[in-house]
Structure formats: C-alpha cells, structure tokens
Symmetry: C2
Subunit: 432 residues, 2 copies
C-alpha cells in the first residue's frame, strides 16, 4: 500500500456493499483529499453475478468467487460485508494472512472470534477496523477505542437494536400491544424475515459483546451475555411505567465489577429524564459512564445501507491515511485473553414488581416478609384496586438477581398472592 | 519520538492541567499499553510556582517560564491548556516549529487562528489535536474528522455552552425567571466571573467555528458566527413553548448552502421529541446531519477538569500510538482557505411571534398583510385574551432573516399592534 493509490476489494454487494460502492464513487474527491491517495474499488465478489447491479459497480470488477478477491495480490484492503461466521471468518483470516488490511461490518464474527482475528492481524502487521459492526452509522467503536483511550469505562448502557426500540416506542406513544407494534414494524420493513434474534435480544447481545471487549480490555463473546427479550412486555406495563415517570427500553448493559465483567440484555424501566429514555423509533444510542469523562451518549442510525456504509468508508479512510503507522489495533493484545464474567445470579438490579393479591388485612405484611427473607429491601409500595382487582406495585432497592429470583419463587407460592403479574428491572435512576 | 518513551511538556496547570497530570499518573499502565510506549510528564509550566500543587506534579518538573518547556529539545509533545490567544499562539507555533506535536484545549486559538496553526503543523510534519477545545469531554472533533471522513455533513446543531443550558433547564423545569436561574447557576459554580461570554453566545460561537471548519472543509472563525444570547428569554416565552410542545435551547447552528456556510448562535424553540430538547442541565450535545450516516448526536460534559483532561489524554494516546504515520491533520489543507459565509440576512428560519394587539375586528387582516408584504407565510395563528390582554401568537413558515426583520419593523409601526412582545426562531421540526 506504499504506492500511489489503494486498491480495495469488496466481499458482498447487498444493501451495505452497494451503498459502500456508491460512496466510494460519489465522494471520491473528499476521500482522496482526506486520505492522501486515491482509493479505487478494484474487485467485487457477489453471490449471484446474474443479478442486476447499480451503476457504481462496473461489471468488469465482478466475480462470484470471494477467494478471487482475497487471493488477488494487487488488493491492499478488503471490505467484508457478507456477515455470519463462515465463510467470512476464513476469508478475513486469509486476507489478513496475505498482508491485507480489513474493514468489516460483521458483528457475528467479532462477537465470537475477535481474539482469533485480532491475533492474526497483529501477527501480520495489518489493521482490522469494525466501526460498522455496532450501531451501524453511529460512531461508537472509534470513540471508545480512541477518545476514551486515556480513561476507564465503568458502564455501558445501549439501545442497540432498532426494531425493538421502534416496537417499544409505538407501545409507549400509541398504547399498542406488543403484537400490534411488531406488525407495524414489519409493515415498515424494520423487521427481519425471522424477527426472533431482534425480539429476544440476541442481536443486541452480539453488539454489546463487542463494545464490552473494547471497554474492559478483554474478550467478551455473545454467549457471555445473558438475554431476556421484549415479548412479555405488556401495554399495562407501559402504562404503569408512565405513571411512575418512566419509559421501558430494551437495554444492553455491561459493567465492570472489580476484575469481573457483567453483561446482559433485558427490558428495563428508566426515568424519562434519562437521555436514553428519549431515544425514539428505530434509532440506536449508547450511554457510556467513564471515570473521568463522566456520562457520554452517542446516538444515530443503527442500520440501513447508507449509514452503515458511511461508517465503513470512515474506517477505510483511517487505514489509508495512517498507512505507515504501527498497524496494531489498540488493545488488540488485550482481546487475546477472555474476560472474567460475573455469574448471572450475582448481578445487582432494582425491580418493579406487580402482584395480584387477596384483598384483606395482613397481605402486605406477608408479602414484605417474603422480600425480607431473601434480603431484598422495598423502596416503595402502593396498593391499587379492591376485591378481585387488588394489586400491590413494589419497587425494590438494589439486590442480586439470585436474591430477586428466590423472592419471586416464594411469592408465587405465597398464599395471599394470586399471581406475580409483572416484574421488570429499573435502571438509570441516578440524575444526569 | 522514535525512542523508548515519550516526554511530555504541560503548559498551564490549573483545573484542566492538573486533572491531565493526574490521569497521566493514575492511568499510566493503560496509557502505555494503548499507546505502545510509556508517556512521561517531563516538564510543567505554571504561572505561580509558589502555589501549592497536588501530588501528581513533582516539584522538580515545575518552571514558571513556559518557554523553558517549548525550547526543551527533549520534549516530544506539548499540551497547551493556558487558553486565550496570546501567549498561547506564540508558544504553540514555537513548539510546532521545533518539531513537537501539540495537544490543545484552546478554543479561542483554534476559532481564530486554526489556519495559521495547521499550516505550521503541516510544514513541520507534526500533529496538532484539539478534541478538548469543543464540548470538553464529549468526543466530537474525532468523530467528525475520522468517523465521518467518508461522508458529507449538511448541518450541525449544538448545545455548546453548559451554563446557558443549565439556566434554560431551570427556567423550563421550575418556571424561574432568567435572573433567578442565572443566580442559581452562579451559586453552583457553573458561571464565570464575567458570565457575558456564555450568556451572549460568544463561547458557543467559538466552538461552533471549530466544528464548522471541520465539517465544511474551510476555515470558519468566531467573527463569522452571528450571535444572539438568552438574556431576553422570559418565563412567559418558556410557558408558551411548553404549550406548543416545545423547549427553548441556545443552539449553535452551522449549515452548508451550496458553496456557502451559514453559522449562528441563538435561542430557539424545538419540539420536545427532538433529541436535543431533552439535553438537560449543564450537559453539552451536538446533533449532526450527514448525507449518508443520517442524524447523529453526541452528548457529554462540556466542561470540568476531569472530563476535559480525558479528551486531552485521548489525543495524547493517538499521537503516541500513530508515531510514524503521516502527521498531517486530515483536512488541514482545507483549513488554509477561508469559508464563504452566507450573509446573515439570507439565512432562512421559521419564527414564533407574539404580538399585543387591539381587540377589534380587522386586526388579523392588518397583521397578516404585513407578513404578506414581505413574502413571509404564516403557518399558524392563535388569538388569546381580550381587551388590553388581546394577543396574537403566530408561527411562520421558513423565510429569510431579512424578510422576517422587515416584517418585524413594519409590525412595530402598525396601528393595531401595541407591542411586538416576543419573537424566537423555531428549529428541528423534522421528525427524527
């Protein structure tokens, strides 16, 4: 790449790949002036070469074999937007092995194989950048690795999935049920063919694993992240949240506790005054608490061709501009070791709990006893309704998941409790 | 800087300087692992060496002559946190001239002399980074220069002054007057000895000039930014904004119009659903609209020693890590030319207007005629009160400042108008 231009190979030319090709062509002048040399799209691997392509990819560049691109010695930099672990992993490792830099948007690969990829890159002396793998067009990987390079991150709370945030926004603003809001998201094209990875939190978990690895200098993988989705959030929960001045969000949370990392994805209530509570529709946002910088938030589009492609081209420009610098990804060495994950039962939370109870004296004493027996303190309690509608709404102080789980088990068998109607974690209650 | 450690000289050791020294000592291990070599605080220039310093600056490093630091051939990198244009400018230029990299938090210097500084840096082959000069600990300079390097920014809207945002938040949430809210900010230590640069918008204007220069690839200086402060915002305006579902914020706005840049700071009403509307208290935030990435927002602490120092250390790590790379600041060449500034009268806005009027038939026709004569369309109008309290509340469609100004002049002389009670720009009405 010491030459007078940089030759780029593109693996995959779907929505993100073709948007990347488009920016490379349309903004060629800015890209050259910002990176110092022209950047030329030299080869494009496409699954089905018979499909019509847009005008930004000239037919002469196209191949249906991604290995043509990876093995081409004239290619300096490979952009991987195939997604999924295989064959992307083998292709990326081969590109690295033959001295090519890599820009990838592949969250599955990085959330599972970051240490393999980074080890190979550091051995080969090439760069692997991946801004687009988390929150699409929202700059978060670079700020975390570079802007906060002199700081220590304590906690990350992210809205990392646009589909579920759209669904929860509709439920909050229109009082719709989960099913109706999901149907509306589908109509607008915000859902995947199989929406379960979004709804159940696995998509957000993969992105959180990547961010947590950067923040805490040790590899966190998808499987380390506990997941609870939004399918059980009801219109009644949403109304109750509003009564308390809260919103409900699907939050991806990673925290440092001593030398352990806790990471999980779950719906949570948070005060409306928290910056994350006002992140609406399909937007993504990441709230970061750092020791010196304090609270930061990054908001943007988490998906879509142009936004994701913008992040990819930003990474390309950085690699081209810094050719000649030591190539190692900052903190790559740290990713070679696995993070110590805090056992799920030890993670501390506050809970909002709704119980259907018998309407008679002594019920509160009995319920409060169950909490007390497991060491969970009650921050507030409110009785609502009469007779068959009698309900207790409680919010707990911080206690471990294990303590809460034991309390919930006991409540379900407690005589005056008819039903544990709802429970949800409460987060972000500190003022910012 | 090819050696086995980097020697750092610090110019100024007030709140930000001593917080920087503290991070360099406390996080020395992370900083070394992220930048590849140890970073040593080797020399510190302090105005009054007799003052007591904290433990992070050992007395042997201290001098009261900043030229000692700049002329020391063993210093690789100078951190400038003196502020103000002189002597900072001469010191920074001398450091650059003798081949030292520079990290600065100096908004006045960059908002007025960026092209001089960058030209010198590119001639000397050194880097000048300045993340801390805008919005303190909020990463915005690096995302704009690097993450969006492949994109085109259309518009920036920022809350760039924490003091005025705190004042407006108090006015909004407690119904306080401007004077009472300002007194409260002073009590909490959020105001400068002379708060006029904050209140009148000049502090925000300097930061906007820096961001606009990066975004639009041409130097915008403080004097290019039109300024209107918040001293005339009343509790009544705030109540009116709430009635419309709006908040009032002091916004710093820069836009590209063809080959011209429009830049100004002024209070504005914006819908509560806009992400900037929910930025509370002394926080800063920058909302960026880019061609491909779409809408982005960056939120964080705009001031304070630790947050600003975190940004400074992030810049130090980047310089140390990338030693060996081409040193030029991306876009530095672009800063050598001045931006073409759109004449203030041509900038388009929407306005909220409150008129005290006579309570009789025909008043609306007369008022509407004045708007029409200057080509300003009315989007909505509402009549409130009776007799001496009769009031018209109007919101206009987008028209130029010159058209609005001519309309306001005519309204002030129009017979049935008793008083032009209030007028304020309305922004951010597009849904995000």
């Amino acid at each position: 790449m010491a030459g007078d231009r940089v030759r780029l190979g593109l693996l995959g030319c779907g929505v993100v790949g073709s948007a990347t090709a488009r920016i490379l062509v349309e903004n060629a002048h800015e890209i050259e002036s910002r990176s110092g040399v022209p950047v030329e799209l030299a080869r494009v691997a496409i699954r089905d070469t018979s499909k019509k392509r847009d005008a930004f990819v000239s037919p002469g560049l196209v191949t249906d074999d991604p290995w043509d691109v990876v093995k081409d010695p004239s290619i300096d930099l490979v952009v991987e937007v195939i997604g999924g672990i295989e064959p992307a992993r083998d292709l990326v490792l081969a590109a690295i092995g033959s001295g090519k830099h890599v820009v990838t948007a592949n969250k599955e690969l990085l959330a599972n194989e970051a240490s393999t990829v980074m080890k190979a890159a550091s051995k080969a002396g090439v760069k692997v950048l991946f801004e687009a793998s988390v929150a699409g067009g929202t700059p978060i990987v670079r700020p975390m690795t570079e802007s906060l390079a002199g700081d220590r991150v304590r906690r990350i709370m992210g809205i990392l999935n646009g589909t579920t945030n759209f669904v929860l926004t509709r439920m909050s603003e229109s009082g719709e049920s989960f099913a109706d809001a999901l149907a509306e998201a589908a109509e607008r094209g915000y859902t995947e063919l199989d929406p379960s990875a979004d709804i159940e939190g696995h998509d957000a978990a993969a992105k959180l694993a990547i961010l947590a690895s950067i923040a805490f200098d040790a590899a966190v993988v998808s499987g380390d992240v506990g997941c609870e989705g939004i399918a059980n959030v009801t219109a009644r929960d949403m109304a109750a949240a509003h009564d308390l001045g809260y919103e409900i969000k699907l939050l991806a949370v990673a925290e440092r506790h001593g030398d352990e990392v806790a990471a999980r994805v779950h719906p949570a209530m948070m005060p409306r005054t928290h910056p994350l509570a006002s992140v609406r529709n399909e937007l993504n946002a990441i709230f970061v608490e750092a020791e010196h910088a304090g609270e930061l938030m990054f908001l943007g589009r988490g998906a879509g061709g142009p936004a994701t492609a913008s992040a990819i081209v930003g990474d390309i420009v950085e690699i081209v501009r810094d050719r000649g610098a030591p190539a190692a990804y900052p903190g790559a060495a740290a990713l070679e070791r696995r993070a110590r994950i805090q056992p799920a039962g030890d993670v501390a939370s506050r809970y909002y709990v709704v119980l259907s109870v018998a309407d008679r004296p002594g019920v509160l004493a009995s319920v409060a006893g169950a909490f007390a027996r497991h060491g969970v303190s009650i921050a507030s309690v409110r009785q609502e309704g009469f007779g068959d509608e009698a309900t207790l709404v409680l919010i707990t102080h911080s206690a471990s998941e294990a303590q809460h789980a034991a309390t919930f088990s006991e409540l379900e068998t407690l005589e005056p409790v008819r039903r544990l109607r709802s429970r949800m974690r409460v987060l972000g209650t500190a003022e910012v």
